[in-house]
Symmetry: C2
Subunit: 154 residues, 2 copies
């Protein structure tokens, strides 16, 4: 199996996972600190999806640390298939959550002008949280492409 930047069990792969966990966690934190987020389904879904993403990435982060410490090779077809499915599912869910929240935020900011009318509305925090969710998605997309590439080139 080919070893590319971001492969499982390498330092670059570990860095990607750390980034995913950090941005997903930050996205959840900022959203939780925003006033009234729980009234909107899209924002609750963002938190759920980022939570799942953080859990999945944390699991693979631990596996990467284990592989680096004991010099194990994680490039076997069964394991990589599992990573591919997990990464693709969580990447799709993360993109869906980020986009649906972004759609709602654009509606509030631009179409309905809620942010100018009601100043207690935490529009800025919604936007920061969504931006972080998009960064998380970019990092997971990179991991998923690498995994799929490794699997396809067996």
């Amino acid at each position: 199996m080919k070893v590319v930047v971001g492969s499982p069990g390498t330092w670059s792969g570990l860095l990607l996972r750390v980034g995913q966990c950090a941005f997903a966690g930050a996205s959840i934190g900022v959203m939780l600190s925003a006033y009234g987020f729980s009234n909107y389904t899209a924002f609750c879904y963002l938190i759920a999806s980022m939570g799942l993403q953080a859990l999945w990435s944390f699991g693979l982060l631990c596996l990467d640390i284990f592989a680096l410490k004991y010099e194990r090779d994680l490039h076997n077809p069964l394991l990589v298939s599992l990573f591919v499915v997990g990464d693709w599912v969580t990447a799709t869910l993360s993109l869906a959550a980020a986009c649906s929240s972004a759609g709602v935020t654009v509606l509030f900011v631009k179409d309905l002008n809620f942010c100018e009318k009601y100043h207690q509305f935490s529009c800025g925090r919604f936007q920061i949280s969504i931006a972080m969710a998009f960064v998380t998605w970019l990092l997971v997309a990179k991991s998923s492409l690498v995994m799929f590439w490794i699997l396809a080139s067996v």
Copy 2:
């Protein structure tokens, strides 16, 4: 290069492209017939994104017909790389558009109860249009995975 179901220049590939064009076109048609869609950025973006998707799929549909008629082989690395990039970009844009519109529709239907309060609001048509956009995305996702698989297995 491997030939899998949905490869460019095959009958299954042609069918996939016809499905993508049909559902993208239907999604645009239903959204255009809904009252007041143009007041919402997410719905305008859905139309733009489905329009781009329909154009791209129509271009590849014509190429598939050409390849089938004159028995040309479209499996060369340069051409497949082009298909991969185009399919991935349009698939991501389609999913983003479908999800942001879905987020806004869920807000109208569930969180704000607009659909019960204002009966002139075409909630049903928004939902049908978004469902078709999701079907379009599924078909494009199938095409993109096939293209990426073909490219990776060179």
